[in-house]
Amino acid sequence: MTPEALYVIAGAGVFMTGLAGTLGRAHLFWKVLGVNFMGSGIFLLLLAGAPRIPGEGADPVPQAMVLTGIVVATAATALGLGMALRVAVRSGGPYLSEDMPGARKKRTESVGSRDDHGETPTPGNPS
């Protein structure tokens, strides 16, 4: 098994674990983290899976793509964490309300109500 193949396997594992974390964890911090891992997994797949010239380093094009991807991921993470913190302030915890137990009753496809949109930004939490 070539080293590239090893890293392809690792990439697939990292991607899928990240996806599972994003979907499975309700905490926004882990959701953002999971998306980051998904990205890293794809970068591994991209670079390890790309065709290469024997004897040379990695294909420079996917290298550039991964570089770009890392930068974009950083940007997205910064925004994601910033938003997650706002949710934590305004909704009283770093969770989306429909992910929380008890919130299921308020279906996602809710009819909506007056206070659905007429909510004041909730004053922070008891700290």
């Binding site: 899928m16 065709p51 950083t74 964490l81 934590a88």
Partner: protein, 348 residues
Amino acid sequence: MTQLVWALDASVAVLLVTLVARAMLTRDLFEASVLFIAFGLTLSLAWVRLGAPDVALAEAALGAGVTGALFLNAFQRLARTQRHGVDEGPGSRPGPLRLLSIGATAVLASALIAIFVGVPVREAILAEAVNENLGRTGVSNPVTGVLLGFRAYDTLFEVCALVVAMVAVWSLDRGSRTFARDPEELREDPVLEALTRLVVPVAGVTAVYLVWSGSHAAGGAFQGAALLAGVGVLLTASGLIRPITSGAPAVRVLGVMGLALFVVVGVAVMPWTGAFLAYPEGQGYPIMILVEGVLTLSIAVILLELFIDVPAAPEADPRLAGVDPTGDPLGRTLTLAGDLIRQTEEDE
């Protein structure tokens, strides 16, 4: 020897998956952040093993460094105010559902591997094309050639993504920005001060070197900028410079300067070459160095902004509490803004 190398690769691969799995399973935010940084460092080792030193540098600086710092920062702010440093929500504890999802993940990962194994292997058309045409760009590092030459358009929009993220984070902002320590407090912390005085010059020089070396060896604007941003974080954290706010015109100008220059250069060459971002033959190298230099500065400012603009301990704005809850978001906004403006005027 080869077996030893294979063992190294195998253990890196196993470590990567293990770190991710640990990070996704833990309930402790701090632990997850540290695991993420460890993952990033391991990943940069993998990049080295895959023959991609530029990516390795970027991963260490941006992936593990800046992003890791962002996570730690978020952890700190969540943990400071409430028990959100620990996840108590759904999906955080072991249970049958988790077992199921681990199983599903394993199955899907195998499927993904099968897909990749099933892809017919092609020749490296692009790698060869890059080799053939690299001379025409004026740089000798093929990755830089792709980033600033062949696929400069992507790079331009990558910088654009950073600017957008910066603006987006600014637009989120509400709450205090007290990131810097009290200057008084600083004087009582000789270690940090000494560290700052020692590290800053070294890091600054390294950053410049990284940018310059990008044209022929591993390095480049993003890696250099990440280093510079680190310097900035350290300086702000130690209180040597005041925290920069989005309101400061200088920050805005610095932040968009790189992107603006990139665009201007791309358009300015059009009368000669007819295409966007097509540098005239032989002029590529100086143009790229110029663009890269300015980009480094801008990106450093942006990264710093992304970092320090994550709001400090979220606190309620008392002025919002009394606002009439009926009404559309805009309506609320209107009254609120009016009140604030009136208040400011009265204060003055």
